[in-house]
Symmetry: C2
Subunit: 367 residues, 2 copies
């Protein structure tokens, strides 16, 4: 059965982003995957989106790189949501990727919505909001992400996927370890550098440095770069990723924060490159130890794991990527969610509405 | 008739703010003034508020100075609004000071709400939102503020007021000009310095320097401070304002942006100090030329205006402040607005609702 699906993207970055940006990248590939699966997909986003879906441009360009000096991200998103609501009757499912900002506007339609939470959930003010609007079915991008909001209305975990054709399989590494991402304390580039130096292996670091992290980069990381083993190559775009990741003997992912997913792990796997990750956040769910990489909890374990990882079967890693983390695999999993949602709505629309009302005993009704 | 009034404050600063912060300061004094006028006032805000109103604390402390590293201002405000909505039936009027974030949540109650817009309105994304939610009656804090949204649903302009007892009348200046505010390009502290130097008069600058403006301060302003006429005293709190402003022969307000109100002008008047302001934003509505100060458009005009301003009748300036810009004067003007709102609701609740519906032809209804 063909479904009519609305995808509602954040307006901060282009879909997909010109440079950095995880959420809009995932939404872009989800749209294309759903179209490839035969569904009718409508994307609400900023106007420069590149998509196989029908595009509803609600802002002339994405907010972050818009040179206009005075802009309001709240207003931009409310405007988009008003447009989504105006057209809501056209869709079987409304799939939101904008955190909780739509909660006040779609209460009567909550049973036809899915909301994927893309960010970390250990923020001070979140629990109250998810408790106040319990009627929205939520998708986590890893099971671990749920840890800080265990009582929220979780419907499923759907891991991210990336298009298989975006990553070129590389049967053999070229003799270096790789670190790819942002330079920031919680990403622990210092750990990656220390591993390389202890093992006497080369390390290439491709990373952007945000304004907020410039001091950390200057004070903590730059002094460590003065070593023939370590090469800092700066920020790289999508087109350079296959070369950078595919050339690596292993990707180091030594994070020290509850990263809810970590796209770079599956991007490495897409090239056949094994991943050595700290056991933290989502890494347990993404990496299959001994098959696609290793999970470690100490420097000593990391050193041993790297020496084992570089000998893993790279073709097998790519196959696991295609099976578990391709965009079409993600698309199929979301279609399952949409179908369950529709089935629940058709089976018991009355019950669903009654339940929603019961959860909000003091809700104000129209006069 | 005693009215039951809910005041909904932003959660960024304490009510009133510990340091800088205009909106929360106005809300604090409005609450107290309404209580003094005999009304039942309930304040929704962060917990450290100091108020004569009944306080509903919706966050343990204001967001900006909360040391918690991970917080969500959107979630904090949505949580507050859910609490306001739960209790909305208790109030005759809901008075919002949170820009447009409440629009999606109070559509069926819009006729019982007032929304004071405290910020500049020349932002790229605003017009679309005010067009989408035309049913909310809006209060401007100056007529000039409306210029960028002329077609919005303006109900009235209510100028800000400050408590008369907060400012000590000073019958005579002490021989210096004053500049009070933020150091930033659009506040034009450079103009104030140039005036003082041309006239050979002393200038005291009391101003905070935000992180965003540190380079401007260092590059453009600091080199100008090396002059015996110019004294930079840093940021000052409420307790020092009467001395600082009351001691001035005149306040310089040489702004170069459409400031929607400009509290410091009325704070100076509260001390009996005349104001020389550039004709820009709200200044035309606040200053009565020849009585409380002068409006200028060039350096030459400013020089002449300062020499005239220092000879104005300071007691008359204080009287104009008490009459036009005291907190109780602001309170009375808002009560007028609340009464008109209630009268309209009682006269024609059906019509009002029909109108609201007609303005939103495609609004989604509950099943």
């Amino acid at each position: 059965m063909i479904m009519k699906i609305a995808q509602i993207a954040p307006l901060y970055e282009a879909v997909p982003p010109k440079l950095y940006g995880g959420t809009e990248r995932v939404v872009a590939h989800l749209c294309d995957a759903l179209v490839d699966l035969g569904h009718e997909v409508t994307l609400f986003s900023s106007a420069e989106a590149e998509t196989k879906a029908v595009l509803v441009p609600v802002r002339d360009q994405a907010i972050r790189l818009d040179p206009a000096p005075l802009k309001s991200d709240l207003a931009a998103h409310l405007f988009m949501l008003a447009e989504v609501r105006r057209r809501a009757a056209e869709f079987d499912v409304l799939h939101f990727h904008v955190d909780m900002i739509h909660f006040p506007m779609f209460e009567s339609l909550a049973g036809r919505t899915l909301t994927t939470l893309h960010g970390r959930l250990d923020l001070k003010d979140l629990a109250g909001v998810y408790a106040r609007w319990p009627q929205y079915p939520l998708i986590s991008i890893s099971d671990d992400q749920r840890r800080y909001l265990p009582d929220a209305n979780w419907a499923a975990t759907v891991h991210h996927g990336m298009p298989a054709e975006l990553y070129r399989f590389s049967p053999k590494g070229e003799g270096y370890l790789a670190f790819l991402g942002r330079i920031s304390p919680e990403k622990r580039p210092d750990r990656a550098i220390a591993i390389a130096k202890r093992l006497g292996r080369r390390l290439k670091i491709a990373a952007k440095v945000d304004a907020a992290d410039r001091r950390y980069f200057h004070d903590e990381i730059e002094p460590l770069l003065n070593d023939p083993l370590i090469e800092f190559v700066g920020e790289i775009g999508d087109e350079a990723k296959s070369d950078f990741l595919g050339g690596a003997d292993a990707l180091l992912f030594p994070i020290d924060w509850p990263e809810p997913f970590g796209l770079v792990m599956i991007e490495a796997m897409g090239c056949g490159t094994p991943v050595v990750a700290w056991r933290c956040g989502s890494t347990r769910e993404v990496i299959e130890p001994g098959l696609t990489g290793f999970l470690v909890e100490s420097d000593a374990e990391a050193d041993r794991a790297v020496e084992q990882a570089v000998r893993l079967d790279r073709a097998a890693i790519r196959r696991r990527f295609e099976h578990r983390f391709s965009a079409s695999s993600m698309g199929r999993r979301y279609v399952d969610c949409y179908r369950r949602l529709s089935a629940m709505q058709e089976a018991a629309p009355r019950i669903a509405n009654d339940l929603a009302d019961a959860q909000e005993p003091s809700r104000i009704k129209s006069a």
